[in-house]
């Protein structure tokens, strides 16, 4: 079997379910692949190691893709894992925040992603505010605890299938603003990147085909796959992940290889307008459909 190293975007979590299930049911083996899954310590690392050819595929986020391309990293999107935005602007009930305008003068925490200013700016504009009307503070990976401990009034970068559940688990009612409802163009939250040099690598279509099988199986047998996952990752076997597993199901891309070029172009324009990237590149420069 051909060895293929895939670096995740973050620690193993339900967002990776299709890959894990494909592994569970032997879909990769059937395609003649021996897939090794490596989680990184920091989401900024996988694209770099991919560019340096230390791994064959890496998971990242569509917004990041533009920053990578803008800085000239030789990476290209070859597949999509989650084709919905997961990102939200999140507050909790009791903070007096009921709508976007309620954030005026508030403190908003973020986990550095590179695009939080643009996202937040666009969203706040819907409530007649600008980024200057709030104070931003990096809370790293502690979105929920910063919010719960009232160190911040809201956070951007919280996922609707993870952080929102966590808030609920602590008996607090979340106030959720989904990004796509506030002027952010729809985008793919989790994508699969390859090095440009190996875009033609025959293993990639095989990987994507196996991934599709994994997704299909997952959607057909959510309970069984969860049980297997929970057994394999005892440390992840808890109510939160179980809920998340269910919630994420509709988010997975049923055809991972397919590319919606118009959507990619639209988001690129959004970032360019927000001055986060220096030039608008043609989509084919950073995203391809390897099956075509």
């Amino acid at each position: 079997a051909d060895k293929l190293t895939v670096m995740l975007d973050w620690f193993i979590n339900p967002d990776h379910a299709p890959i894990l299930v494909a592994q569970q049911i032997g879909a990769f083996k059937d395609e003649g692949l021996d897939v090794e899954i490596v989680p990184p310590a920091d989401p900024s690392v996988p694209p770099r190691l991919l560019a340096a050819k230390q791994v064959d595929l890496a998971l990242s986020y569509q917004p990041q893709l533009y920053l990578l391309a803008d800085q000239g990293l030789p990476v290209v999107r070859v597949g999509t894992l989650i084709d919905h935005p997961l990102n939200t602007l999140l507050a909790i009930e009791g903070n007096g925040i009921k709508d976007i305008a309620g954030f005026k003068g508030k403190k908003i925490g973020f986990s550095v992603s590179g695009v939080e200013d643009a996202t937040l700016g666009t969203m706040l504009a819907k409530g007649g505010l600008s980024v200057k009307d709030v104070s931003l503070v990096n809370v790293n990976f502690q979105l929920v605890s910063a919010l719960l401990s009232k160190q911040v009034d809201g956070v951007i970068g919280a996922y609707r299938n993870v952080e929102v559940n966590e808030i609920k688990e602590h008996g607090v009612t979340p106030v959720v603003f989904n990004v796509e409802d506030y002027g952010i163009p729809a985008y793919d939250e989790l994508i699969i990147l390859a090095n440009k040099d190996s875009a033609k690598d025959p293993r990639i279509p095989k990987f994507l085909a196996a991934l599709k099988k994994g997704t299909d199986y997952l959607l057909a047998h959510p309970a069984e796959t969860w049980a297997t996952f929970a057994k394999e990752h005892a440390d992840l076997n808890n109510e939160l992940n179980k809920a998340s597993w269910q919630q994420t199901l509709p988010m997975f891309d049923k055809d991972p290889a397919k590319l919606d070029a118009a959507r990619y172009e639209a988001y690129g324009k959004f970032l360019f307008d927000s001055k986060l990237i220096k030039k608008e590149l043609p989509v084919s420069d950073y995203a391809i459909d390897v099956t075509k």
Partner: protein
């Protein structure tokens, strides 16, 4: 004999008492201030997490122990060699010291991708990371010790036709041992940190990984269970080093008890 006995018993008992005491304080604090569990879980929850994840934790703890020992070993080696080189060559010292200081100022995190790039995902990059954290205190204190050796002792050895190596082995090294001991103590205390930092660089095992992982998932109880194991290791390592040093430094006067000398 009897004195030694009571002392050792006292030590063990003290350790236990401190242990229990710290846990009680921790418990009391969490209860008193109603600290939410995402900030600081209660000891009972941590104990449960410890028990439930025993296999998983033990496995990862073993890996971390390996890294600590290797990192400590190489860190000591590197630190001692650098100190010696600096002592033997003022030239080297003058040129190397600033470089070493810079090396300390660069947070290892910034280097992490580079290290993985160069040394891969395996044990190597982690051990190197631990080594980077450890070597500097050792170098600094050992070099200070070597530098402050009574010149008369070295002079005398010279008159006895001691080769530079013999001077080193029989006089300088021994005379610098107390200072080296200081450095070793610090190194032993920070070694676990080094290993943990190393584990955060693109690998999927070890207590550091467990901590980061569970922290990101809000499983603070698991995180603290790992932290607990790590602290345990550190204390054992420290005790080991302490006992070792007390053996080796039999000839160093101890003026630490100003009250009486009869202890």
């Amino acid at each position: 004999m009897t004195a030694g006995r009571t002392l050792r018993l006292g030590r063990g008992g003290r350790g236990l008492l401190i242990f229990v005491g710290l846990i009680l304080i921790w418990w009391g604090l969490t209860l008193l201030f109603r600290v939410p569990s995402y900030m600081l879980p209660t000891p009972d929850r941590v104990a449960v997490a410890l028990w439930n994840g025993r296999g998983y934790l033990a496995h990862n703890a073993l890996i971390t122990i390996c890294e600590i020992m290797l990192g400590l070993g190489f860190g000591l080696l590197l630190g001692a060699s650098l100190a010696l080189a600096m002592m033997f060559s003022p030239l080297f010292q003058r040129w190397m010291m600033p470089v070493l200081v810079v090396s300390q100022a660069i947070p290892v995190f910034a280097l992490a991708p580079l290290l993985v790039l160069w040394f891969g995902f395996g044990l190597a990059s982690k051990v190197i990371m631990a080594m980077l954290v450890i070597f500097f205190p050792v170098t600094a204190s050992f070099f200070d010790g070597l530098r402050r050796t009574e010149t008369g002792w070295i002079d005398l050895a010279k008159t006895m036709r001691a080769s530079p190596y013999a001077q080193l082995r029989h006089v300088r090294l021994v005379a610098a041992l107390p200072a080296f001991g200081s450095g070793l103590r610090v190194a032993a205390a920070v070694a676990p940190i080094g290993a943990v930092i190393g584990e955060w660089v693109g690998s999927a095992s070890g207590l550091g990984y467990v901590m980061l992982n569970s922290n990101a998932r809000m499983q603070t109880d698991v995180c603290f269970a790992a932290l607990f194991l790590l602290s345990l290791m550190a204390v054992f390592l420290w005790q080991l080093v302490d006992i070792l040093l007390r053996r080796i430094l039999y000839w160093v006067p101890d003026a630490s008890h100003p009250a009486g000398r009869s202890a």
